[in-house]
Symmetry: none
Subunit: 226 residues, 2 copies
């Protein structure tokens, strides 16, 4: 379940937002001034923040800026009162992702929230670790210990498939379909060759593999110890 932090000092507005978002299946945290909002953002790491502009103690801009300064990447939606529109550009500059102007329809706010969370999920950092290796999907990078290991496109896609399906037996057909494509024309031995080069790159001892295991007559299985 996704968590949303609402920072809003007007109790009525806060109540309304909270009820609505909870009804739509979100977990809701609330804060009624900038300081509390900032603390909640830093400690609870919500998935998204609704941030009122005018707040006691620390104003919305400042909260936004400080959150970004802490390198927290969750999306922020600014709630601005009508007449504050001139400040919108500033809000976006400070690292907000979107804004809605009061009075707004709860439907619109929900739509924007959904959109942002979806966008966020799709660019989420994807990092898989096994042994001393680290496969970073978004950076398309494999690191072993401290050094980066170069992978060709097919090697990368094959390893990606393995780490995403750990402990599962993968037949040559499955692998061929998922990595090479359903209309692949490659002979089945091609896979073996790529497994060998992968083993050479990631296994401590390529002749006694601990990550990519051979399943005789079947295919392979990626099964890192712990």
């Amino acid at each position: 379940m996704e968590t949303i932090l609402i920072v809003e000092d007007d109790p009525t507005m806060l109540r309304g937002l909270k009820d609505n978002f909870e009804f739509h299946g979100y977990r809701v945290l609330a804060a009624d001034d900038g300081e509390a909002g900032l603390n909640a953002a830093l400690n609870a790491r919500p998935d998204l923040i609704l941030l009122d502009l005018m707040l006691p103690k620390i104003n919305g801009y400042e909260v936004c800026r400080l959150i970004r300064k802490e390198k927290l990447g969750m999306p922020i939606i600014m709630l601005t009162a009508k007449g504050e529109e001139s400040d919108i550009v500033l809000g976006l500059n400070l690292g907000a992702d979107d804004y809605v102007t009061k009075p707004f329809s709860i439907k619109e706010l929900l739509a924007r929230t959904d959109a942002l969370l979806r966008r966020m999920r799709s660019t989420e950092l994807e990092v898989y670790r096994f042994g001393d290796c680290e496969l970073d999907i978004s950076a398309r990078k494999l690191t072993r210990g401290a050094e980066e290991i170069k992978l060709s496109p097919k090697e990368f896609r094959l390893l990606e498939l393995f780490v995403k399906k750990p402990g599962r037996a993968l037949s040559r057909d499955e692998i061929l379909n998922l990595v090479w494509g359903y209309d692949s024309i490659s002979g089945p031995r091609t896979i073996d060759r790529f497994v060998t080069t992968l083993r050479n790159k990631i296994e401590p001892d390529p002749h006694n593999p601990v990550y990519i295991h051979t399943l005789r007559e079947i295919g392979y299985k990626f099964d890192p110890p712990q």
Copy 2:
């Protein structure tokens, strides 16, 4: 949290200002003569200065002038007593950004403080550095070492995208969407050509790029070493 320096010799006034600004979430430094104020400004680099005009040792004008002489750009609000208005022009000429006349309402002073700080942030420099290059988004300027390098609009937007998403694999589609627009009609090889010209402009050795890396079958990745 933002820091404000108050330079004021009247203890009552100082106390009142300090309490108010601290209550509103600012960190407050205080100095009760011009000399101490100047030192505090130079050493602590506050985000904004409230500067009384009549001060022991060095007067407000002089402090203001000396601060600007040191090329410090933080906003300065002059606090002038009624009857000193004729000197306001002088103060503004010396580099003050605003003034309030005693007696003033604390609310007005807070409003002006907020406004100045916001204006300051919105014009805050957006500068990305990598190697000996410096990309200034707001000035739309690329400098390498001492000399400015001319970038065409598309080149600039492409580089901007790269520096804003460091270490992330960017597919040709993504790049096309974000730089050329979702309805772009350009062929995918167009990107390559622009990458080449960018590399020629920013890479120490364009044939062995260290900033813009090629990801075969995917696209590119901007990944400056450290």
